[in-house]
């Protein structure tokens, strides 16, 4: 009989077997709220494991936005759990997770937390173990009182071990 921590470690090890890793980068444009923001850049790194029903990914993400005031910056850093179907040419994608937001104007700063969610689709193109995909999505961010979000497009590449 294994203890609980060992059980969790075993679960993590199983997750790490038969996984793929990937990277995504692209642009976000404000769609709901954030009227004064310009477009921003977004990046994410993830590990992915294939299940029968879907591909589950766990990732870390960041995005950066600026406005006309060059002293201002808005950063988001987040973790996400996502579901997609990598074997399909067109696959829906759903992601969600916690988000840390930091805004800065000169030496003044504010920070706080939110929840992010992404709904969209991607087009899978396979070359042996490599997978390339453009991804189009709506990325929402909320503190359960205010909702705002972006539409975006990313280009991703994944490698399956």
């Amino acid at each position: 009989m294994t203890s609980k921590p060992i059980h969790i470690l075993l679960d993590m090890l199983i997750f790490l077997i038969a996984l793929s890793v990937g990277f995504e980068g692209g642009y976000n444009i404000p769609a709901v709220g954030f009227k004064d923001l310009n477009s921003g850049v977004a990046f994410s790194l993830y590990i992915n494991r294939h299940f029968r029903f879907a591909d589950l990914s766990i990732g870390a993400r960041t995005s950066y936005f600026s406005v006309e005031n060059s002293a201002y910056s808005l950063y988001f850093y987040g973790l996400s759990i996502g579901l997609a179907k990598n074997s399909w040419l067109f696959s829906p994608v759903i992601e969600f997770g916690p988000e840390y937001a930091r805004r800065k104007l000169g030496s003044s700063k504010e920070s706080g937390y939110g929840l992010n969610y992404t709904l969209g689709f991607l087009i899978n193109i396979h070359f042996e173990k490599l997978r390339f995909y453009p991804k189009f999505y709506y990325e929402g961010i909320t503190n359960l009182k205010t909702h705002a979000g972006f539409v975006g497009a990313k280009l991703g590449v994944g490698y399956e071990f």
């Binding site: 406005v67 201002y72 916690p98 003044s108 700063k109 939110g114 909320t142 503190n143 009182k145 705002a148």
Partner: protein, 208 residues
């Protein structure tokens, strides 16, 4: 870890998150300055009421700006993504004739609103009238002194603004200082105004 444990952990996380008072998304995503024609805010002190109304767009110095009437006194404001600017004109009367000494836009509030931010902007000019120089200076010192969650309004920013107008004549210096404190709520606008006449709180408004 079983799927039941994961679901329970997820629900607990969301409940804990919902219990936290953290409105950074609201502060970052909302519009605190609803300058659109027809919008109005009615504020009241213990002794008086004050209407703040956005009137028709006017063009000054080739810039389209909103006439915002503060209790009948118009301010000509121009909103950009990085600032709310105000039209300033300082006139000196000499021998029954008006001479414009200073005319331009000055940064009234720096945008976006971020707690602790401070700014200043100034206009300086001079004119030679009847053998003597008349110099005028207008400057604004502003700062965001804080924000607080107000029920029904959301996170309200408090902004302190000092307006100083100085006119330097050959034989005298005229200085006029006005200190105001304004509080703005997300997607509503002005909810509190404080000057020498008292503290005015929002009692009614209409924004589109």
């Amino acid at each position: 870890m079983s799927s039941k444990t994961m679901v329970r952990t997820g629900i607990l996380f969301i409940l804990l998150f919902a219990a936290c008072e953290n409105n950074i998304i609201q502060r970052a995503a909302s519009d605190y300055f609803q300058y659109r024609e027809g919008n109005w805010w009615q504020l009241a002190s213990t002794q008086d009421t004050m209407m703040v109304e956005v009137e028709a767009v006017d063009t000054l110095l080739q810039i389209e700006c909103f006439t915002v009437s503060f209790g009948g006194y118009p301010k000509y404001l121009f909103k950009k993504p990085n600032a709310i600017s105000q039209y300033i004109k300082i006139i000196h009367n000499f021998g029954g004739e008006d001479y414009i000494v200073v005319e331009n836009f000055v940064k009234r509030i720096e945008l976006p609103l971020v707690n602790g931010n401070a700014w200043q902007d100034s206009l300086v000019d001079s004119i030679f009238i009847s053998g003597a120089w008349v110099k005028a200076k207008f400057y604004i010192i502003g700062s965001i002194s804080g924000f607080e969650s107000v029920g029904g309004y959301g996170d309200v920013y408090t902004i302190a603004i000092k307006n100083v107008e100085i006119v330097i004549l050959p034989d005298t210096v005229i200085t006029d200082t006005i200190d105001v404190i304004e509080a703005y709520a997300p997607d509503i606008g002005l909810v509190r105004f404080e000057d020498n006449d008292g503290v005015f709180d929002l009692i009614n408004y209409e924004v589109e």
